[in-house]
Symmetry: C2
Subunit: 122 residues, 2 copies
């Protein structure tokens, strides 16, 4: 069942944070790292998990992999992502992620292709 697959993706805190951020728009791995403050391998593996199950898409831009939500999500996925957005509004850690994303926005605008050039590694 499609629905079970979706919930399997949602039942990890890191993946929830990734999907929540992606609802704001596409992001590359190094931005996830900066926002979540988790090791690269952890983020990369969770993104792979989501990618294999088609909850996210990705596209290469030079050195960077840009991840995004599917262009045409199923009704079930859309419903659950909307529900997640709703629930995230009450949760401090999701809001903290959002705040960090906003801080990154100027950097993302100024440098190419996604602002990753100015990223400092962790």
């Amino acid at each position: 069942m499609e629905l079970v697959k979706i919930y399997q993706c949602l039942c990890d805190r890191t993946r929830l944070r990734l999907l929540h951020l992606l609802s704001q728009g596409p992001l590359c791995v190094c931005h996830f790292q900066e926002i979540l403050r988790e090791p690269q391998v952890k983020i990369s593996k969770h993104l792979a998990y989501l990618r294999e199950r088609e909850l996210v898409q990705c596209e290469r831009q030079a050195n960077w992999m840009i991840y995004a939500l599917p262009a045409k999500p199923s009704r079930e996925l859309a419903a659950n992502l909307a529900c997640l957005q709703d629930c995230a509004q009450e949760d401090a850690s999701f809001q903290r992620d959002l705040a960090r994303l906003k801080k990154l926005a100027p950097k993302m605008a100024e440098s190419s292709p996604c602002g990753c050039a100015t990223t400092t590694r962790g």
Copy 2:
């Protein structure tokens, strides 16, 4: 995070079916057995899983355990249960469960305390 716990409960097909049925009202274990057509131990263990995580409540009535959704679900749980109801409308297996539940309704009304007396074991 409360939300992760909810998704962990939702990420199994059997548990989804249980919760979907409970959205229609309380049920006892033997009715779940009849509707899902799964072995008693499987149903009982999944109900225990949900109970430990407080996604369902239960109450004894003589020999029978009556399970129900929490009287005051958290906002997150309510949102996700509503989302599940929405998604279930498009899914044949959920609808089949619902149909079987309707068939049970007359039996449930006639015998006490929950209609289980007339149940035939499988």
